[in-house]
């Protein structure tokens, strides 16, 4: 147990570090997406700023900061300004309960690599994400433009619908591991079975179906292709953020990519065994390897996100709703019932 001053210092340092790392990864996820999608479409992607275009995110950031910040005259100002803030605050908050690795010893104290470990960690992420809907919905409404309003309406309907499937797909994992704490869920997945296959929930817990339900509803939750109807360029100009410019637009952009990273972290923790993986070598390597495995799995997940974006076309709106309610929802309930029966039969 840490004493209070040490605890406060450690928490502040961890918070600042996590926010810095998260924002940097957001910037470089954008770079990665532009590069990967570029190569998939037989183009180069950003190449001009720095080697391989690596300084492009920095240039974009400066551009967003110094651009003129237009506020159209017909908007409802308080909510117009508050909406991007809500979006970005919720996106940055939910990372607080995500553990990035085991505890590391620093100056005699064992510091867990996580801003805070809560008993209800997973529920906190779900709660904060569900509040994040307001950012998008209110942006659409307060812009007072028909494209924005349609985007906001679509976003709220879509996110509420797919949140149910998302939540139900996680319940199976919770039944198998018996805890809401993300750290305990990861610890329950350590070890191997049949000699070599890791005991991750996607294999050992039999949560294979749940993983795919989670994958699809997570794409819908983060408004990514093929579920990006709230900002469908071909019909709605830019959807809910049509009227936003400069840093306010960048805040929505940051929120979207931060949400992608959180979703990837949760998938890694719940289905892919978190930071568990082969650990060997000298002490420094032992300290670093778990976090390396965690980051590698998150990276794979982000790559799949971009891959899907480069591959699939957009759904039609009625297809989106029918897919969510008539396919994913019954499938999630069936998975839940089967998992519960198996766990009850085993115990």
């Amino acid at each position: 147990m840490l004493s209070l001053p040490i605890f406060i210092i450690a928490s502040v340092i961890k918070t600042v570090l996590v926010i810095l790392i998260l924002l940097t990864s957001v910037a470089y996820t954008v770079w990665l997406e532009r590069k990967v999608v570029g190569h998939m479409q037989n183009r180069w992607g950003p190449t001009r700023v720095g080697p391989f275009g690596l300084l492009q995110p920095l240039a974009d950031g400066i551009k967003f900061l110094v651009k003129e910040d237009l506020t159209p005259p017909h908007v409802y100002k308080p909510l117009f300004i508050a909406a991007p803030m809500i979006a970005v605050i919720c996106a940055l908050t939910s990372i607080a309960v995500v553990p990035f690795g085991t505890a590391i010893p620093i100056a005699g104290y064992s510091i867990p690599l996580q801003v805070t470990d809560l008993n209800i960690g997973l529920l906190v992420i779900l709660g904060v994400t569900s509040i994040g809907v307001y950012g998008v919905a209110l942006a659409g409404w307060s812009s007072n433009s028909k494209y924005s309003l349609l985007g906001g309406l679509r976003a709220s309907a879509q996110m509420v619908s797919y949140e149910i499937c998302l939540g139900l797909s996680l319940v199976g994992v919770l039944i198998v591991s018996g805890s809401f704490s993300l750290r305990e869920i990861v610890q329950s997945q350590s070890g191997h079975f049949w000699g070599f296959i890791p005991k991750w929930n996607i294999f050992y817990g039999g949560q294979f179906v749940a993983f795919f339900i989670y994958l699809m509803s997570a794409y819908a939750e983060t408004n990514r292709i093929p579920f990006d109807l709230p900002e469908a360029e071909t019909e709605l100009v830019a959807g809910y953020h049509t009227e936003y410019s400069a840093m306010k637009f960048a805040m929505f952009f940051m929120a979207e990519y931060a949400n992608m990273i959180t979703v990837a972290c949760v998938a890694t923790l719940l289905f892919l065994g978190g930071w568990s993986g082969p650990v060997f070598g000298p002490r420094l390597l032992v300290a670093i390897l778990p976090t390396f495995w965690f980051v590698a799995k998150v990276f794979v997940f982000l790559f799949i996100y971009i891959w899907v974006r480069g591959t699939l076309p957009r759904f039609r709106y009625d297809q989106l709703m029918a897919f969510g309610w008539k396919f994913l929802f019954p499938l999630a309930i069936a998975n839940l019932v089967v998992t519960a029966l198996i766990v009850a039969w085993r115990s």
Partner: protein
Amino acid sequence: MLHLVLFLVFGAICVAGAINLLAQTHPISSALSLVVVMASLAVEYLLLGAEFVAAVQVIVYAGAVMVLFVFVIMLLNAGAEERTKGSHVALVLGVPGVLAGGLLVAWTLLKRSDTGMVALGSLPGYPKTIGWLLFHEFLLPFEVTSILVLIAIMGAVVLANRPDVLPPPETKEN
């Protein structure tokens, strides 16, 4: 001590949100005030030690029910309400009535010493405890409530989907 201060602060925010809900003329502002009320109630639950109930309060009420409220307001594109002067009866009888009711509740609670008091955060509201209670001690009320909710949903569907209001189905031409 910190718990008590936070509890009072969020209680005040909760009441302020509720008053703002009544004072605002625009439906969206009222709905957002209600979100503030729900969220501060969740913090109160958290401070009382019921962390699971707090999380569910945020996810279900602030995150789902209120989003649907906002959705409907946006869909109908409801404008600002008209101001009325309010009824005199409500002003003359209502305000003293609320005061009297509040005093009565406070007096009863303070007078009955046998109810006892519980320190903030001393009742652990772990998910396991709640699950155990719901599926053992209160299984029947829990299941009956779920059936009640199901009946309400079916009622809403029946009311919204009356066949006599719908236009007659088009006959297919051969």
